[in-house]
């Protein structure tokens, strides 16, 4: 079979007509959509303090981890006050189960990022036109 044969066959596709109630059915759905209340936006203002606290905790944990790691290196001098502060912070974190909280936060962040990545891959193209 040659390309002109394919062109001939595939160009003369049968046309189907919309059923009589199609436009009415679409408009019914559109009117329902128009009458529906707008979606509730994410409450950023309320969530912001919690997010800030979570961010600060994360930064503190990273800093204290770095301090602890460098403490293990010979010849490294670390101020005693830093060590005492980081040790008490680590002890408090252990009591609160901060490691699990951190893992949960990281997992939540990763899953949200993944979901957003998939969602942006689903409908990206026509929105750019």
């Amino acid at each position: 079979m040659r390309d002109p044969d394919l062109d001939r066959i595939l160009s003369k596709e049968e046309e189907i007509l919309p059923s009589s109630g199609f436009a009415a059915s679409v408009m019914e759905a559109v009117q329902r959509e128009a009458a529906a209340p707008p979606p509730i936006p994410f409450p950023w203002k309320r969530a912001l303090p919690g997010l800030c606290v979570a961010g600060l905790t994360l930064v503190s944990l990273i800093i204290s981890s770095i301090v602890l790691i460098t403490h293990g290196v010979p010849g490294q001098s670390i101020p005693r006050s830093w060590l005492a502060a980081s040790a008490s912070f680590v002890a408090a974190s252990r009591n609160l189960g901060a490691a699990w909280i951190l893992v949960a936060l990281l997992l939540s962040f990763a899953s949200v990022q993944l979901a957003m990545h998939f969602a942006s891959n689903r409908m990206p193209r026509y929105q750019r036109i």
Partner: protein
């Protein structure tokens, strides 16, 4: 309704008159249903997919930036939806190897009845891998216009040409077995 009337209708919808969308639906219902039908070969499902495409268009009207014609935007949106839908729930396809042999392998054109030949070719297109099937379907839907097909698929023209070429090569190879083998068997 012309392109400018499409634009006016869209503006009215954006200004809060949802009823103005009916003009858009009436103008584009035929093309959108036919495009869906070419993807799924099921009239009922084609109407469902077209309805969903109109609803998505209605929800996204404010994202049409007017850099392209409304029809270009609408076809790209519908194509994106149809491809996603068919990847999620594939249409019922018959593998080309399972396609029944034609009723009369010698009737016309030294071989098959025209109707049988057309049916086999369409099933062969339907059995192509999705990326080739989409390129082939859009190319013929847009009257063999590569630029229009590439706009609908939101892909560069070169990519669409390459997929079309590969799709046709697969079709030629498959169809040469299926359209010639019955004849050879008959003659043997």
């Amino acid at each position: 309704m012309s392109a400018s009337e499409d634009e006016a209708a869209v503006q009215q919808v954006l200004d809060g008159n949802a009823g103005a969308f009916e003009g858009v639906v009436r103008r584009w219902q035929g093309p959108l249903i036919n495009l869906a039908y070419r993807f799924c070969r099921d009239r009922g499902r084609a109407e469902e997919m077209a309805q969903e495409a109109f609803l998505r268009a209605y929800r996204s009207l404010d994202r049409w930036r007017r850099e392209a014609a409304f029809s270009t935007w609408l076809f790209a949106l519908a194509t994106n939806l149809y491809c996603s839908e068919l990847r999620r729930i594939p249409a019922r396809t018959v593998a080309l190897d399972d396609v029944a042999e034609p009723r009369d392998p010698r009737a016309i054109d030294g071989g098959l009845e025209q109707e049988d030949q057309d049916r086999i070719v369409r099933r062969a297109v339907h059995a192509l891998p999705p990326k080739y099937r989409e390129a082939v379907t859009l190319f013929y839907f847009h009257d063999m216009d590569i630029a229009a097909a590439s706009h609908s698929l939101s892909l560069p023209e070169g990519t669409v040409k390459a997929r079309l070429s590969r799709g046709r090569a697969i079709l030629r190879s498959k169809l040469s077995q299926h359209l010639v083998a019955p004849l050879l068997r008959k003659e043997a």
